[in-house]
């Protein structure tokens, strides 16, 4: 078997429902005008990244892949933070 360790069938439909529910939640949350802009942005980003995490772990099978693959996949994350954080600083503290 070329797909890594054996495991029971992943909960695909449960994840699908979760993604659907989160999408609805996001759209609803985005239009709560009473919230300050920062809370809106942070909340939405958190929800989006959690959905992305679900897709990566369940649909892309990361959950059942060797730990070293997780490490490799995580590699660009510090680079993304560095690029965006440093250049944002450029604009906010002239």
């Amino acid at each position: 078997m070329s797909t890594g360790e054996a495991h029971k069938p992943p909960p695909y439909m449960l994840v699908w429902f979760g993604l659907f529910a989160l999408t609805m939640a996001e759209v609803g949350y985005a239009f709560i005008t009473a919230l300050p802009k920062l809370a809106l942005a942070v909340g939405l980003i958190v929800m989006a990244f959690y959905k992305a995490y679900l897709v990566a772990v369940y649909y892309m099978h990361l959950k059942w892949e060797p730990r070293r693959l997780w490490l490799m996949v995580a590699a660009p994350i510090p680079l993304i933070m560095i690029l965006i954080f440093v250049v944002l600083n450029e604009i906010f503290v002239p």
Binding site: T3, G4, A56, L88
Partner: protein
């Protein structure tokens, strides 16, 4: 010479413990992460630098339509994963059916996006600086301009490149379907389907983040 003699019964070092095709696809996807980071990062930075160029969510862009489109793409990820589950069980017909469903839904996503582009352009929301005239939805076409030129530039570049990746994905899915129809895949030989799935889920993943950042914030 037999396989045994060629390799002298030896195996290479375990390495990443996943087969080459899968490792290669994951590595390629990491480069795609950096590509979209460059584009989305630029959007974030330009938005902080010139917030007056951009509009509140829903004013110019059609959020309900795109939310539906997001749901569509997520559904296509489900059909893709069902296709993979089918070939894991050696279900050739199931593989073909679910692949076809993924192709149809994926093409539908692209279609909706093309429609969205046409509608936006008709409202005057275009990427070019000199032709820019965004007025927002349900507003008079010759009304006051909402936002500035950066809005159109960044929007069309990000969503356009994502759309291009989806389109290429649909073409690759067609190729995978053609191979499946020829019986190229089986429970012991499903690498091609698996890496197709990885690419497709990745495209969905990028859209999940893109939709939130561009349409909802």
């Amino acid at each position: 010479m037999t396989t045994q003699a060629m390799t002298a019964g030896r195996a290479p070092m375990p390495g990443m413990k996943v087969y080459n095709l899968k490792l290669g696809m994951w590595i390629f996807l990491l480069s795609e992460v950096m590509f979209f980071t460059g584009l989305i990062g630029s959007y974030v930075i330009l938005r902080f630098a010139h917030p007056d160029h951009f509009a509140e969510p829903g004013v110019v862009l059609n959020v309900p339509l795109t939310a539906f489109n997001t749901f569509l793409l997520i559904c296509s990820s489900v059909t893709m994963v069902k296709a993979y589950a089918a070939i894991e069980q050696d279900d050739q017909q199931g593989l073909k059916n679910w692949l076809l469903a993924t192709i149809v839904i994926g093409a539908g996503f692209v279609g909706v996006q093309v429609y969205e582009y046409i509608a936006l352009a008709a409202e005057g929301f275009v990427p070019m600086a000199d032709a820019y005239h965004a007025v927002g939805r349900h507003m008079p076409h010759d009304g006051p301009v909402v936002g500035g030129q950066l809005y159109g530039s960044t929007f069309y570049t990000m969503t356009g490149f994502h759309g291009a990746h989806v389109s290429i994905g649909v073409l690759c899915l067609c190729f995978t379907y053609w191979r499946a129809a020829k019986g190229a895949y089986s429970a012991d030989n499903l690498g091609g389907v698996e890496i197709m799935g990885l690419y497709w889920h990745f495209v969905d993943l990028v859209w999940i983040i893109l939709f939130t950042i561009v349409y909802l914030i």
